[in-house]
């Protein structure tokens, strides 16, 4: 314990160091939870901060949760993202407008925004002290307070029981706590300045790549984010480290960037005049789940390196992270430090943050300096890798929790214990992606929630309960295996479409490794199962592999017929889901029910897969960024498409190739041909077969299995209904099995 005798000028149960978005959001939530919280901030607010000022949908949602609707409603709406290559080529991607009132994105200046968030915390009861925090005061790993320096009191102490470090990218507390571990020699910087433009600005985020210095490409980008019709935030950010090019002085690079914009894109901006001075800052990139907590000290926001390593965005992470850390502090205060650690919790919620930035930056640098250009092929200006493009560059809010999926909601409505188990399996499955290879964690987490993972796990948990069990420890491993195994197909499917000139290290190798990873995770999850069950599962996994091959053999084949299509589904998914359902029955102490459960699982898989075909065609999937008709465009035809392909006009559409930006005509043609009804009828028939398979079985809770089978049909019906009414479901449909 500290023996220094300086004045204690304040005390609080929780001291939050830093009044930026992370600290203020944390303080606001702590105050809501009834905790005595003091924010210690070194600057007088309002104060300015180097930032791009971009506000994502997730960020806007968080601001509204703080009752800052007025701030969002007054913000400048952004309608798209324009990628600019070499100041010569550009491509605009329009954002979807959100169904209620929010635009997809906004810009808000940091000065008013940070002031408003801190104000929201104070309105909720958080106190504020203006002082610089020099170091934590600890008794072992127990917090006693912080040593501060204020203009009014000089050196002083603020007593506290818990400490939240939200003191930014240059966090003094992080260093003092010794959690400022190696980052692979990586440093990230950003600089920005406001400008007034002569020409009216397009309401889009403009991104400029490649960023170069001395003819060498740097990992980073320049930006122009409009804050109004004639006012914009100009800036650039880049990553620096061994083997990552040679950046010049940041101010010189920024001046050159602004000059390039004027010289080469004069028509877009006209004359530009600076408003105020430029402002630069390090950026907090390099999150590690093991460096977010030290005893009762919690780190959040830039102090925990919670900046998006791809986009450089940090406000949404700060707001969500701040809120979550507040809840963990509250939990720790109530029940002690014997539960969840902060890093693991944040890593589950934000799977992208933990990627190895150094590795990503090295490969990107190599691509840029060996003939490519900023990760694009120079012709279409698209990222090389469909997986990267679709799964990773999709920065929409992403919720990795299965409880939000339809099947998760069904389980919740059916059985509370099963819902709790499903959540535990969800967490374990996310934790098992314990690698830092770029994109892997995020891509797999997205596939886990948008694919058939939740369906497989739910089948295991509900089948066991239907047979009178449910408490057996081995069930969790089986459920995890059932969640991982269906990922084999989407992971492998990506590699076939890789463009021929794509850099192999980011494409094929990474995806193949992901497939190994998925398989070995699926295997490892089975540890503890009886040998016979493992044998059965191994054979089922073999069947899944063969099924993947059948799917690819049938690609672009509209003559395959219903019978072959159903056989493929059975090989791909039926055998697997049937096996896990049967094993679940045995584990639940009812081996006599294993056989009917096996049959049930096979038909259930068929029903879910057929439903998924309808859902993918009509509404797509937001999490994995699949537009309606995405699979059809890639030559994977679901049953409605095969049925509709009896029509010669529709076949011609298929041959021409589906335009994903305008798939509505094709979808209408499928609807008009009766293909949807045919697909739905097969789905219903499969669900009925599933229920019939266990109709005579002496189940303890047969209603669980019936509800699961019916839910497949409901997914399909709902998507047909929503597509008819012109709405798109905004959530994941876990319908693929």
């Amino acid at each position: 314990m500290s023996t220094e005798t300086v004045e204690t000028i304040a005390e609080a149960e929780v001291v939050v160091v830093g009044g930026g978005p992370a600290g203020a959001a944390c303080a606001a939530r702590l105050a809501e939870l009834g905790r005595d919280v003091l924010v210690v901030e070194k600057s007088e607010f309002p104060r300015d901060k180097a930032c791009g000022d971009g506000i994502t949908p997730l960020c806007a949602t968080q601001l509204r949760m703080l009752d800052l609707d007025w701030l969002v409603d007054d913000a400048h709406p952004i309608t798209g993202l324009r990628g600019n290559l070499d100041y010569r080529h550009s491509r605009m991607v329009r954002f979807k407008r959100k169904p209620v009132r929010d635009w997809h994105a906004y810009t808000i200046g940091r000065c008013p925004m940070d002031d408003a968030i801190l104000g929201a915390a104070r309105e909720r009861g958080a106190r504020l002290l203006t002082a610089r925090v020099d170091r934590p005061l600890l008794d072992g790993d127990r917090v006693t307070g912080v040593r501060v320096h204020s203009r009014e009191h000089g050196e002083a102490v603020v007593a506290a029981r818990y400490l939240v470090a939200a003191d930014g990218a240059t966090s003094r507390l992080r260093r003092e706590l010794g959690v400022d571990g190696p980052e692979g020699g990586i440093r990230t910087y950003g600089i920005r300045q406001y400008f007034r433009t002569e020409r009216r600005l397009d309401p889009c985020y403009d991104i400029y790549v490649p960023l170069e210095h001395n003819a060498s490409g740097l990992v980073g980008y320049g930006w122009v984010f409009p804050l109004g019709d004639h006012e914009a935030n100009f800036g650039l950010g880049y990553v620096e480290g061994p083997g990552l090019g040679e950046p010049g002085p940041i101010r010189e690079m920024f001046a050159q960037f602004v000059k390039n914009l004027s010289l080469r894109l004069g028509e877009r901006f006209g004359d530009v005049e600076p408003i105020g001075k430029h402002m630069g800052s390090p950026v907090g990139i390099g999150f590690s789940s093991s460096r977010c907590q030290a005893g009762d000290v919690f780190l959040v926001g830039d102090a925990a390196r919670m900046t998006d390593p791809i986009t450089g965005e940090g406000i949404a992470y700060a707001l969500v992270g701040g809120r979550r850390i507040a809840e963990l502090v509250d939990r720790t205060a109530r029940i002690g430090r014997n539960g969840l650690v902060a890093g693991k919790d944040l890593a589950r919620r934000f799977p992208r943050l933990g990627m190895n930035v150094a590795s990503f930056a090295r490969v990107t640098t190599q691509m840029m300096n060996s003939g490519g250009a900023g990760g694009t092929d120079g012709e279409s200006e698209q990222p090389h890798n469909p997986t990267v493009k679709r799964l990773v560059l999709n920065v929409d809010p992403f919720d990795p929790w299965w409880s939000a999926t339809p099947v998760g909601q069904l389980v919740t409505s059916l059985d509370e214990d099963a819902a709790r188990e499903l959540e535990a399996v969800n967490h374990e499955a996310l934790d098992a992606i314990d690698v830092t290879a770029p994109f892997v964690r995020e891509a797999l987490a997205k596939l886990l929630v948008s694919g058939a993972g939740p369906v497989g796990a739910a089948t295991v948990l509900l089948a066991a309960r239907a047979c009178g069990g449910g408490e057996e420890p081995a069930l969790r491993g089986l459920a995890r295996a059932a969640a991982y195994a269906p990922l084999i197909e989407p992971v492998l499917a990506e590699v076939v479409d890789s463009p021929k000139d794509a850099p192999e290290h980011l494409n094929n190798a990474g995806i193949v490794l992901m497939s190994d990873f998925v398989l070995t995770r699926a295997w490892a999850a089975q540890a503890g199962l009886p040998l016979e069950a493992t044998r059965e599962l191994a054979e089922a996994l073999e069947s899944t592999s063969s099924g993947v091959h059948m799917v690819h053999e049938d690609r672009y084949d509209w003559t395959q017929g219903t019978e072959r299509h159903l056989a493929t589904i059975d090989t791909l998914s039926g055998r697997l889901l049937g096996t896990v359902a049967g094993v679940a029955a045995s584990l639940a102490g009812a081996p006599e029910l294993a056989e009917p459960l096996r049959r049930y699982g096979r038909h259930l898989a068929c029903a879910y897969r057929l439903a998924a075909g309808i859902v993918e065609l009509l509404v797509g999937d937001d999490v994995s960024a699949k537009a309606p008709g995405y699979e059809v465009a890639r030559g994977f035809y679901s049953l409605p498409v095969l049925a509709a392909a009896r029509d010669a006009d529709l076949r011609r559409l298929l041959v021409r190739g589906l335009d994903l930006d305008d798939s509505s005509g094709f979808i209408e043609a499928v609807r008009a041909s009766g293909g949807l009804e045919d697909g739905l009828a097969e789905c219903r028939a499969a669900a009925e077969r599933a229920k019939a398979a266990v109709a005579d079985a002496p189940l303890v809770r047969p209603e669980l299995l019936a509800a699961l089978a019916d839910s497949a049909v409901e997914h399909a019906e709902r998507s047909i209904g929503s597509a008819t009414s012109g709405e798109r479901e905004g959530q994941t449909l876990a319908g693929k099995t």
């Binding site: 995806i511 070995t520 191994a538 993947v548 690819h552």
Partner: protein, 327 residues
């Protein structure tokens, strides 16, 4: 490539053919998949893990019988499955270097072929699991744990691409988790299939681990030595940017050279110049010395194990002292 005209492989043959027979036994109804699997399995010579498995089966009281072939096939499938990404990288490079003018049909067909290979990988890995399930619980648990470790270590290799700050400790850890643990698995499963007691199995496992590590270091040295002889052999590690022990040692002797390494990915002549520097600087010799240390530990591990002559012979085949490598 098709399977037409090939002599059906003999299961009792410890070579690729035997593995092929066991690996493809479950494939039915898809000639394309059978072709893809066959091509994968025959593209590479039998690996150390497979050979050590069969030799280790001589160290137990029983002959091992059919089980030892099953064990050998199972461990080989982990390696062969894992080699697909190397093969795809190679194909992508060949296509990039020499086939830019080909029409879209040709490229698409090749991509689809590559896709078949990847799907075949999943099948191979799952087939390996099914084969291993016949060997009993402890073997299956070990197989699953090692396969997972190997997959993770491959990921780590990918993370280290173009990392000029990679340390020899990091390299050794990955080699241990990848080649070391896989060959150790082969040795352990071979011993168990012949009914060896757990003490002998542990010694065989230790032998396999050290043999695997020595073998990998030697392979990495060979890659560099071949590049030093002529730019016609573009060093694989230079191309892929996954730098191995001799390269790491060479960087240690002249750190200024590190910055130019990533550019050698597409410049065989520069890679040759670097390889020559690595030999002259003593980096190759020091890497070989490290391999030799592991070979010594491998030999020591089998001191008290009867019937180990065949396994020990595998060490000699590494040719750590051969003039071609040590030059």
């Amino acid at each position: 490539m098709t399977t037409e005209g090939r002599t059906p492989p003999d299961v009792q043959d410890g070579s690729a053919g035997g593995v092929l027979a066991l690996a493809t036994a479950g494939i039915a109804g898809s000639p394309a998949l059978l072709d893809a699997v066959t091509e994968l399995l025959l593209a590479e010579p039998p690996g150390l893990e497979q050979r050590v498995c069969l030799e280790a089966a001589q160290c137990g009281p029983g002959p091992g019988g059919e089980l030892r072939f099953q064990a050998a096939a199972a461990v080989a499938l982990v390696r062969v499955g894992g080699q697909v990404h190397d093969r795809m990288a190679r194909e992508a490079r060949e296509e990039k270097d020499g086939d830019r003018g080909s029409g879209p049909g040709g490229s698409r067909s090749r991509r689809r072929g590559a896709g078949s290979s990847v799907i075949a990988t999943a099948l191979l890995l799952n087939r390996g699991l099914a084969l291993c399930a016949e060997l009993g619980g402890p073997s299956l648990d070990e197989y699953v744990a090692v396969s997972r470790q190997v997959a993770e270590a491959r990921m780590e290799d990918v993370e280290d691409i173009f990392d000029i700050t990679r340390t020899s400790e990091r390299y050794m850890t990955i080699v241990d988790r990848k080649e070391g643990s896989l060959v150790a698995l082969g040795a352990a499963l071979g011993g168990r299939s012949a009914g060896a007691d757990e003490e002998t199995v542990a010694a065989l496992r230790e032998f396999g681990r050290e043999l695997g590590m020595a073998g990998q270091i030697a392979a990495d040295v060979r890659d560099l030595v071949a590049a030093a002889e002529s730019p016609a052999h573009h060093s694989v590690q230079m191309q892929t940017g996954v730098y191995t022990l001799p390269v790491i040692h060479a960087i240690g002797s002249d750190p200024a050279i590190a910055d130019s390494l990533p550019a050698m990915s597409s410049d065989p002549e520069e890679a040759t110049a670097f390889a020559r520097f690595a030999i002259e600087s003593g980096a190759v010799r020091s890497a070989l010395a490290e391999a030799d240390r592991h070979a010594g530990r491998a030999r020591a591990a089998l001191d008290a194990v009867p019937g180990a002559a065949g396994a020990l012979h595998l060490l000699e085949e590494l040719e750590l002292q051969s003039p071609a490598v040590a030059a």
